[in-house]
């Protein structure tokens, strides 16, 4: 065959191939009772104690809390969680001993997993012992809640009664029990997968589910998709969706296109820019929910120049928070008053501290020995999409106060490692973490405690703050605990370990016919809340 003919044939074949594919590629339309989610990852672990990419998003659908938050409506008439109201869920009721060291739960009867097994006290004891043995997330939740972290502290009284033994009273426990972990497992199933080396079947639990929640995992193809099926014996209202396809689409741009084309019903983890673009599309609904964590720029109080509180305060006065919210978060955020969001009981209200005042910032810097301002590196990472634009904005904003910032990028894993409480060697950096329990004492313990706070990444250790947290954790009088939190937050704000920028609003992008979104503190919708209009 001559070359000219061969090239012609090849070009025609390529075009024909595409058309042939087009003929057979009519976009698949999902059945009406199937929810399709464009996810960043397939769940890499289904064990709530081992939180890996995709874990929290899916485990919250399969394991539910012993308690749950009440619900109320916001000013727009939308349903939201009420952090002040705690209701029974897997438990039916509870009572606390006079010294607050024993909490006895009556289990809800008739709670069944997909296998038909009914939840019993044995399941609770086995599940909590698993978390104690693993010493990971569930163990941390237990420790924060003052539950004695050893086997035997969760005790079976009878098939439907369980007693928790605590090291001291806990103001946090009932709210912490809204969490998915320590998960309550169907221990009749999990015990079948236990071995002498692995008595809590952790290897099996990583890749399978055995809960009493609205959904269970029915198929997992790592790197491709996970399929979840509704629990036919679910004790709550029957979920609208029989099946949820959790499809991995790692590229954000691809998830965006798929949502716009109606091929997925929810696109996870859209950036502010993508959400802005999607807002213009009538085929997509974008909704913002109040955030519970501050997209903060943090200052290490043990490293120069941030070991001087005047420098930390100067950086706060030098930051125009409105500009940050408008440019980095496209207007979707609330100015931070402390590390506790205003919608959580005990969060500070009123005017945000450190109003923009470059003159005051310069004066404070001069007082601290930096009359000509200073040069600092600002480390940021790719953990959150907002970090790079934030670093660039900070460079621009702080210039007016003679603070010359050089943004420097770290990998996400490097940032996590270096900001860990055992390392903490970065002077000035962006980070975001917040409480997954809607409780100001829990948030304070996590973020502000000088010795126990695992999210205290700035080396701040103020004895009075520690004392207030330790007192509040065991204070069962809610008003007294809240008063302590008020005092604590004011001290913390004065110490200024963070540049208090904004509580970043959490944007959800989904198909408009999908209804029922309620925001949870873990930022993951519950599939059992959702339905098509």
């Amino acid at each position: 065959m001559q070359l000219s003919k061969l090239t012609g044939v090849l070009a025609t074949s390529a075009a024909a191939g595409l058309l042939l594919a087009a003929a057979g590629a009519a976009p698949a339309v999902a059945k009406d009772n199937t929810l399709i989610i464009g996810a960043v990852f397939t769940p890499e672990s289904l064990d709530g104690d081992i939180n890996l990419p995709g874990t929290q998003n899916t485990v919250v659908q399969t394991y539910e809390g012993i308690t749950r938050y009440g619900r109320t409506k916001n000013s727009q008439g939308e349903e939201i969680l009420d952090s002040a109201v705690i209701l029974p869920h897997l438990a039916e009721s509870w009572s606390t001993s006079p010294d607050g060291k024993e909490v006895t739960f009556k289990l809800r009867r008739g709670v069944k997993g997909p296998s038909g097994n009914e939840m019993s006290a044995d399941d609770w004891v086995w599940s909590w012992n698993k978390s104690f043995a693993q010493k990971r997330t569930g163990n941390f939740i237990a420790r924060v809640s003052n539950v004695t972290t050893k086997a035997g502290s969760v005790e079976k009284i009878d098939d439907y009664t369980v007693k928790f033994h605590l090291d001291g009273p806990s103001s946090i426990l009932l709210k912490a029990l809204t969490l998915y972990t320590p998960s309550i497992y169907d221990s009749k199933i999990t015990k079948d997968h236990a071995t002498s080396d692995d008595p809590f079947a952790t290897k099996w639990i990583l890749k399978n589910t055995a809960g009493f929640g609205a959904y269970h995992m029915s198929e997992l193809k790592p790197g491709e998709q996970a399929i979840f099926t509704a629990n036919p014996n679910y004790f709550g209202d029957k979920p609208y969706f029989d099946r949820v396809v959790y499809r991995m689409v790692p590229s954000g741009a691809s998830r965006l296109t798929l949502l716009r084309a109606g091929q997925v019903h929810i696109a996870e983890n859209m950036t502010s820019q993508q959400l802005k673009e999607l807002k213009k599309d009538p085929k997509v609904k974008v909704r913002f929910f109040p955030g519970r964590s501050v997209a903060a720029v943090r200052m290490n109080s043990k490293i120069k120049p941030f070991d001087d509180v005047r420098v930390r305060q100067a950086f706060n006065f030098a930051t125009n928070k409105k500009t940050v919210i408008d440019t980095v978060f496209l207007g979707e955020g609330e100015p931070a008053r402390s590390f506790v969001a205003t919608f959580i009981d005990g969060g500070l209200s009123g005017a945000a501290p450190y109003p923009y005042n470059p003159a005051k910032a310069k004066a404070l810097l001069a007082e601290a020995g930096y009359p000509n301002g200073l040069d600092v590196d600002l480390n940021y990472s790719d953990i959150n999409a907002w970090e790079e634009p934030m670093a660039i904005q900070m460079q621009n904003i702080l210039k007016a106060s003679n603070i010359r910032v050089t943004p420097k990028r770290l990998t996400g894993s490097d940032m996590r490692a270096r900001s860990h409480i055992k390392v903490q060697d970065i002077p000035f950096f962006t980070y975001e973490d917040g409480p997954i329990v809607l409780d100001s004492v829990y948030a304070a313990y996590l973020i502000a405690h000088g010795t126990g706070g695992v999210s205290n990444r700035t080396n701040l250790n103020v004895p009075r703050i520690n004392e207030l947290i330790d007192l509040a954790r065991v204070e069962l009088d809610q008003n007294k605990a809240l008063a302590m939190m008020d005092e604590l937050q004011k001290i913390w704000v004065e110490e200024a370990p963070w540049i208090l920028t904004t509580f970043r609003a959490i944007g959800e992008a989904y198909t408009p016919k999908l209804k029922g979104f309620v925001s949870y503190p873990d930022n993951h919708e519950r599939w059992s809340d959702l339905r098509f209009d």
Binding site: Q2, L3, S4, L6, T7, L10, A14, G17, L18, L19, A21, A22, G24, A25, P27, A28, A30, E44, I50, N51, L52, P53, K135, R136, T137, F140, L206, P222, G223, E224, Q225, V245, R247, V249, P250, S251, A253, S254, T257, L258, R260, A261, Q263, V264, D382, T411, G412, S413, D414, R416, A417, R418, S419, H420, I421, K422, V423, D433, V454, S455
Partner: protein, 338 residues
């Protein structure tokens, strides 16, 4: 040298190469300042939990001891466990490698099918209109970033024209695949005579394969054109022309004499295009080894990164051995001792 001796010699060279690569990658990941224990335990772990994990993983041992443990396990086929998904790295690689190979095979194959004849004709019509057009498109193929190309193709062929299926991986959500035999849905579908699977897998392949072919064909065209022009300028071609041989015969002579360097070049291209495959897999949610490696690097998943790099090295060596053998088949005079 006989083919079997050639293979044995190559194999002996591969061993020290792989040992070196294993050592180099191991040290590079460890000296990067990242702490695997923190990555595994999560950002909110306590210092006590961190120490426990460090001891469990042997990270409290000297670096050389750690390498020796890793290497001894690797020799026995244990490449460690990924901290991201808690699965053995070898299992992940074995599942994902065929997926990437499928994309590479069709993409580079199509790229070569288009690139070789186009390059040969461009050489023949040197500086004529066809050559100028080809050079322009070849340059375009070189300059378009793969990420951008993939997204534009999705936008045009899926979103606006509706010609291609959504970029939702290797098979439609509505099709349940047959049991995995080869990890290629296309081949598995043929084996199981499931034509719905074959059609869906074929449809899903089209866009990423065309994107890969565009990226692959640009250098193939350029290289083929340059090689063929050298051959055209050679004395034996000029003598053949002077002797009055037909244009068709001369084309055959040019094609045959260009083939050895072209095949060698495509071999090097194949290994270089793994990077392109990673990006395309990311965009098209392909789930192959490239995507796996990219994520492992981003998340500092040491064991997975090490396994990925070793697999790439092994792949490159195998490709070069196969190319050497193909060259011998085409050109029996080729020197295997080289």
């Amino acid at each position: 040298m006989s083919v079997s001796r050639f293979l044995l010699r190559r194999l002996l060279l591969v061993v020290p190469l792989l040992v070196f690569i294993a050592f180099f990658t191991f040290m590079l990941t460890r000296l990067g300042g990242q702490d695997a224990a923190v990555l595994i335990s999560g950002p909110n772990s306590t210092a006590e939990e961190l120490d426990m994990i460090r001891a469990e993983l042997g990270l409290d041992q000297p670096l050389l001891t750690q390498f020796w443990i890793y290497f001894s396990n690797a020799v026995q086929g244990d490449l460690g466990i990924s901290w991201i998904n808690n699965r053995p790295v070898l299992t992940d690689l074995l599942v994902r490698l065929p997926v990437t190979l499928e994309l590479l095979f069709w993409g580079v194959g199509l790229g070569a099918l288009i690139g070789i004849p186009v390059g040969l004709r461009a050489a023949r019509d040197h500086n004529k209109r066809f050559d100028q057009i080809v050079r322009f498109f070849s340059l375009l193929g070189f300059s378009i970033p793969t990420y951008f190309l993939g997204l534009v193709m999705i936008l045009v062929f899926f979103f606006y024209l509706g010609w291609s299926p959504p970029a939702l991986g290797r098979i439609s959500l509505m099709v349940s695949p047959p049991p995995s035999v080869t990890y290629s849905y296309l081949i598995d579908g043929i084996i199981a005579a499931r034509w719905d699977v074959v059609q869906s897998a074929f449809s899903q392949l089209i866009l990423p394969v065309i994107a890969m072919a565009i990226v692959a064909s640009a250098p193939i065209i350029k290289q083929t054109r340059a090689i063929a022009m050298d051959v055209l300028a050679s004395e034996y071609v000029r003598t053949s022309e002077a002797a009055g041989l037909s244009r068709r015969v001369i084309q055959k002579i040019v094609a045959r004499n260009s083939m050895t360097p072209i095949i060698t070049f495509i071999g090097t291209e194949l290994t270089a295009l793994i990077g392109t495959a990673s990006v395309l897999e990311f965009i098209f949610a392909w789930g192959g080894m490239g995507q796996y490696g990219l994520q492992a690097i981003i998340h500092g998943d040491f064991a997975a990164v090490q396994g990925y790099v070793l697999a790439l090295a092994l792949f490159s060596v195998l490709v070069f051995v196969i190319i050497d053998l193909v060259v011998v088949l085409i050109e029996p005079r080729a020197d295997l001792t080289a």
